[in-house]
Subunit: 210 residues, 2 copies
C-alpha cells in the first residue's frame, strides 16, 4: 500500500502565504512530506529532477510560464508524475485545459485541510480529484478521443473560415458540396470546443493551427 511509505510532494505556488500554508498542512499530516517548493514554473522545471516527488501541486495561474504551459514540460522531465493543479475558483475553462495537458486533478486553494489531504490521497490511489461538472466535461471530451488534432481537410476548411469565406464558397473552392463543408465545420467545432466561426478562428490562431 501507499501508506507504507512517505508520499513526497512538491509545490509550485507564487503566493508565499498560500505555499507556507499548504506546506504546513501536508507536513503535519501522517505519511506526507513536502520535499520541495518553488515560486515559479521555471524554478520547478530546473529543479524537479533533484526531487522526484510523487505528487506535484501546481498553481494554475503563475507569472511567467503559466501552470498550464508548464505541465507538458514537467511531464517530459518525469513522465509518471502526478500533477495536481491549484486554483482559486474551479474555473472550468482553465482546469479543463490543464487536464487536457496531463494534470490528473485539481484542488481549490483555501479549502479545508481534510479536503486537501483527501484530494492528494485520491491521486496516490490513482484517482482524480475534481468537481462533478469538471468530471462530466472531461468524460464528454475524452470519449470522442481525438486529441484536439484536426485533420488536414479540417485545417484547410479552417483557413477558409478565417478569411471570412462562407460555406458555399468554401464548397466551390474545395470542389465538394456545402453539406460536406458543414460536416467538416461541425467536426472542427467539436474538436475545438467552440460554437461559432469567430471562436474557432480565434482558438485556431492562438493555438497556431493556422
Amino acid at each position: 500500500m501507499t501508506q507504507n511509505r512517505i508520499i513526497k510532494i512538491c509545490i509550485v505556488e507564487d503566493d508565499a502565504l498560500i505555499l507556507k500554508s499548504l506546506q504546513m498542512v501536508l507536513n503535519q499530516a501522517e505519511g506526507y512530506a513536502v520535499t520541495g517548493t518553488f515560486f515559479s514554473a521555471e524554478a520547478a522545471l530546473e529543479n524537479l529532477k533533484e526531487h522526484h516527488p510523487d505528487v506535484l501541486l501546481l498553481d494554475i495561474d503563475l507569472p511567467g510560464i503559466s501552470g498550464i504551459e508548464a505541465i507538458p514540460r514537467l511531464k517530459k522531465l518525469q513522465p509518471e508524475l502526478n500533477i495536481v493543479m491549484l486554483t482559486v475558483h474551479d474555473e472550468s475553462e482553465l482546469v479543463f485545459a490543464a487536464l487536457r495537458k496531463g494534470a490528473v486533478g485539481y484542488l481549490v486553494k483555501g479549502s479545508t485541510s481534510k479536503y486537501l489531504l483527501q484530494g492528494i490521497s485520491e491521486v496516490i490511489e490513482g484517482g482524480a480529484p475534481m468537481s462533478p461538472s469538471i468530471a462530466r466535461a472531461v468524460i464528454a471530451s475524452f470519449a470522442p478521443k481525438t486529441e484536439t488534432v484536426l485533420t488536414d481537410r479540417e485545417v484547410e476548411v479552417l483557413e477558409k473560415l478565417s478569411n471570412g469565406t462562407n460555406n458555399k464558397q468554401i464548397a466551390e473552392d474545395l470542389f465538394v458540396s456545402t453539406n460536406t463543408i458543414k460536416a467538416h465545420i461541425k467536426n472542427i467545432y467539436k474538436k475545438l470546443h467552440v460554437h461559432s466561426r469567430a471562436e474557432a478562428v480565434t482558438k485556431a490562431i492562438k493555438k497556431g493551427l493556422i
Copy 2:
C-alpha cells in the same frame, strides 16, 4: 502660376535605362528640370534634403526599401512633397497601397512623353494622375475616413466577437440593445473592410487590435 518657374523633379529608379529615358524626356520639355536621380530609396532618403524637388518620381518596386515603404520616410523629410509612383503595369493592389501611404498618383513606365508630362503637370496643378479604376477604389476607400482606427467601444465588441459571443449575449454583457451591437459590428466591418465575424477576428488578431 506654376508655369512661371521651373518645376524641379527628382527620380528614384533602379533601372538605369528607364531612369535615363525619363530624365531626357523631362529635361527636354519646357519648364521641367530633373535636379536629382537615385538608384535606390536609401540613396533618395539620404540626399533628398539637398534637392527639395517639387515632384518625386518613385519606382514602386525598388530593391531594398521598396517604393511603398519609402513614402512615409520621404514625407517625413519633406512633408509637402508630391510623390508620384512609377509602375510597370497599373496593379491596383500596389498602387492602392502607395496612395494610402501618401503618394498623389502614379505613372506607367513606358508611356508616351506626352502622357508623362501631362501626368506631372496634373500633379503640379493639384491633381492626381491615375486610372479610373484606381480612382474609384480610392474614393471608396477614403470616403469612410477613419483610418482603420476603432473606437474603444468597437474594440470591446470585437473582443466579444472573437470569443464567439453572439449579438444578444454581447448586448447583455454591455447593457445595451442588440440593435446597438449590430450597429457597432457594421461599423467595425466598414473600418476593417471585412464582411463577417470570422474575417474581422482574423484581421484584428493579425493587426494586434485584440
